[in-house]
Symmetry: D2
Subunit: 286 residues, 4 copies
């Protein structure tokens, strides 16, 4: 017999007495067992102290999700808050964008296959065909959408159509070496990018060359949500590795690749597990 599905609710609301009691009480009154919960009160939020909650419950056959969501929405409205819900039996559908570098793509596909990433990957888009064989070896459709200054607008339209046709709700830029327009960002589903630098240091191009020139002793990578401002989106996850003066830009890139794929995978995983809440351009990973 299959395990019962789980629902995960994320709530953000102005801090006020009784939040935990009222939100937990909502589920208790419906006989739903809370199996995981995490809260955070942020005194530095823009509009005054703000409360964040992640709460997972086990559903059973009798639970009408629509009714549950409507009732929950009504409660959160009285708290002047916002909310979202995810369900363990409704997998996210992910489009992966790639260019030439295979490490992040292999890594995501392997983790998905091993069950580390609870999602489906119905589509991989490349602006070149270099990684088509990787997609093929995992049995995933690959579409080439070239991007030149002349074809960019049409290319982005084509990508939006493909993403919609495959009903994807997440886009992952796995070392996709093209800059997406604000128009694309506004119309596409939420997107996660891996920047091969320890933001906010080394923004822009060739971060490993920048790092080498500046003589830093530690390099890093940053996974962030994609916004209109390049390299300025909310940071989801970062990690670093120690380097030495003996390493040139190529070796920094090699060390960096190991950080990139782990950081990207952790960020995608946190998103898929409905762990991320936003406050301005800071993320709360609960």
């Amino acid at each position: 017999m299959a395990e019962n599905p789980r629902a995960t609710f994320l709530v953000s609301a102005p801090d006020q007495p009784g939040l935990v009691a009222r939100l937990a009480g909502f589920f208790y009154a419906r006989g739903l067992n809370i199996i995981d919960s995490s809260t955070h009160s942020d005194p530095w939020a823009a509009g005054g102290p703000r409360f964040f909650l992640r709460l997972a419950v086990v559903l059973d056959a009798g639970n009408a999700r629509e009714e549950l969501e409507q009732s929950f929405a009504a409660l959160v409205t009285t708290l002047a808050g916002t909310w979202s819900a995810g369900y363990s039996d409704r997998l996210s559908r992910v489009t992966i964008l790639v260019t030439r570098e295979p490490a992040c793509l292999y890594d995501l596909l392997l983790r998905q296959k091993m069950g580390e990433l609870a999602c489906e990957v119905p589509l991989i888009i490349g602006n070149r065909t270099d990684l088509q064989p990787v997609a093929a070896s995992f049995g995933i459709p690959f579409v080439e959408v070239p991007m030149t200054p002349q074809t960019r607008a049409a290319g982005e339209e084509q990508m939006l159509a493909l993403i919609a046709a495959h009903r994807c709700d997440l886009v992952v830029l796995a070392r996709y070496m093209q800059i997406l327009s604000g128009e694309f960002v506004a119309r596409a589903p939420v997107a996660i990018n891996i920047h091969h630098g320890f933001l906010p240091a080394f923004q822009g191009a060739r971060p490993y060359h920048q790092a080498h020139e500046r003589g830093v002793k530690i390099i890093g990578a940053t996974a962030h949500y994609v916004t209109r401002d390049l390299d300025q989106g909310p940071i989801i996850e970062q990690d670093v590795e120690r380097v030495t003066h003996q390493m040139g830009p190529q070796e920094l890139a090699r060390v960096g690749r190991d950080i990139e794929r782990v950081v990207l995978a952790r960020a995608v995983r946190a998103h898929l597990e409905h762990r991320i809440l936003l406050e301005g351009r800071r993320t709360m990973v609960l």
Copy 2:
């Protein structure tokens, strides 16, 4: 005007529906605002799935703590759980035990002075007098209690009397190079020790020599609660540092000292902030 004091409650109970709602509801009904809460459900607990909660509320002048504790105790009893409470205006009183090495002692005293450790340190005991000047420079009484095979029993009695006289509720072994008897451990307040090795590797004496001989590439330190079985108490915190073949035992010890003091301080801080719950010999640091 002073800030209102805060109370922190720790609860451990068999997992059951409605725990969060009932526990949070308890404080909501009394008009106490929850400013911080954290839960954990542990499916691997010895007696079946177990629920752990840390919850902090702001008190006000009208709150009678005795009544609050009695009512809360009654609630937790109905849940077949256990609980404890700490108050931000009732500082822990700590006795520090030392021998010869000053780094951990300086570190604890400096952090206490800078407000990083919310406690008082009314007493330092050494089995030698080497660190008396350090105690003096921070204006803290120092008592020498020598420990030889002949004087051990009397020495432990003297320490227990001193700890009681100073009304201490925590003992910190800051590189105290004596083995305490099970009798002492049973009668003394809870105690935290820093082991200069990455437990469970390198138990026993001279861990840096052991680490050098085995040729490990990473060394560490472990802070744990003291139990009758040496080096077997519940681990509170660990950290590590990379080392190379170029380092001899003395250099491993030097690197290790930097880990030891940070790890010990983090563990003491977590204890003082009422963050630690026990399940068998595992700690939950909420």
Copy 3:
């Protein structure tokens, strides 16, 4: 035009005056430019202070390697030392042994393909066929050699024959879940294993379960040369990652997989680059 090949010499000798001058002078006298060198004097070596050298030179067309090696051997003999040499145009040939877990295998093959590991992989052997498709997707022959108590002796003979037939000089155990006999270890080329624990803690089976039970706050992985004594071979590389009380054995295993593959790859890379010297059961990675 191709780059000139490089030779890397490793020397281990009792410490004595003039070692650097005499060894460097040897190559200077032959007009060979030293492009990289590293030395280490180890005062803790078993037989008294010992000197270790790694030294890389650029060869040119006129260099007769046989003559060079003979002359170098004669010099090192006068120093009572031992030596070995590797050449950048003579790639190591590696047999990879696997069972069921794909992460380390994918990782090694991808790095080899991207030029991070200077070797050829003519053969993958599995005691099961689970990973045959991975081998196929990289175009590498896969041979199943089942291992049961009854077939072990014959199986090891078959593996030795395969390794010899493919002229492999390195064996990598990439989560190979079988224990190899002392007989096999003695007759096979040098072998590197990845242990999914932070040795010497958690030797033996199911290290993540051991780690969870002991409640450690950091887990790790260890790459080591394979010797007759299981888990006792010289450690080449280790790394660790912080974990929390929230993670069960399965999540420790997931975190551990990320450490394992990086640690194994670093160890294999150091070996392939002729960076590793042995002193007793310690490695010097120069």
Copy 4:
């Protein structure tokens, strides 16, 4: 009987055949045993490939240092290189500059006392008197040199006079919260500063507030040589620590303090051990 003193030579020269052999041969010819050596060839140096060497020898009573240095200088001149030498029996004399924060000062003084930093500290200068008691508890003279816009020029003159009077050859800025003029930097001995941010991110003031606002997941500290351009000097050492969304600027500062003092101590130690060579604004720590 005292140990023989050691001399450490640092050399930087355009890469050319025979460098190791000729430099090592120099000492061999004089009967001086090399106990430690390290080389690095940097293909990215500004003026073409450059060679860096650190080499330590044991001196004996008969060695006339002046003659040794003159002969070595002559050799390095033929190589178009630069060099410097340090002696284990000639301790560096260090002036420490402080303002208000005690952690780095305590740390440096304690390490010096325990033998981790081979130097003397004859003088501590503060622009305020807050840390005078710390200096006193270690028995070190403390001089207050106030710094206001009006007194800055005179104050810097007074500091230069004090540093000269105490024959100091290194200045350490241990959280000294004043900006030194280019004039001071030019006339003072070499100086090392600790920046409480992971440079080049978060330059300038209040880096922990900047880090909090940007929502980074890792913070760091950077020790660098002081140059006329603030926060732009060659980086000697960096380290980082993971942080969470739960931490406000004050907690980032607390975590940061632990990184700062370790990073500063490592940088000072590397300088005192004559391990640092410069190439443009990159350091080689050999």
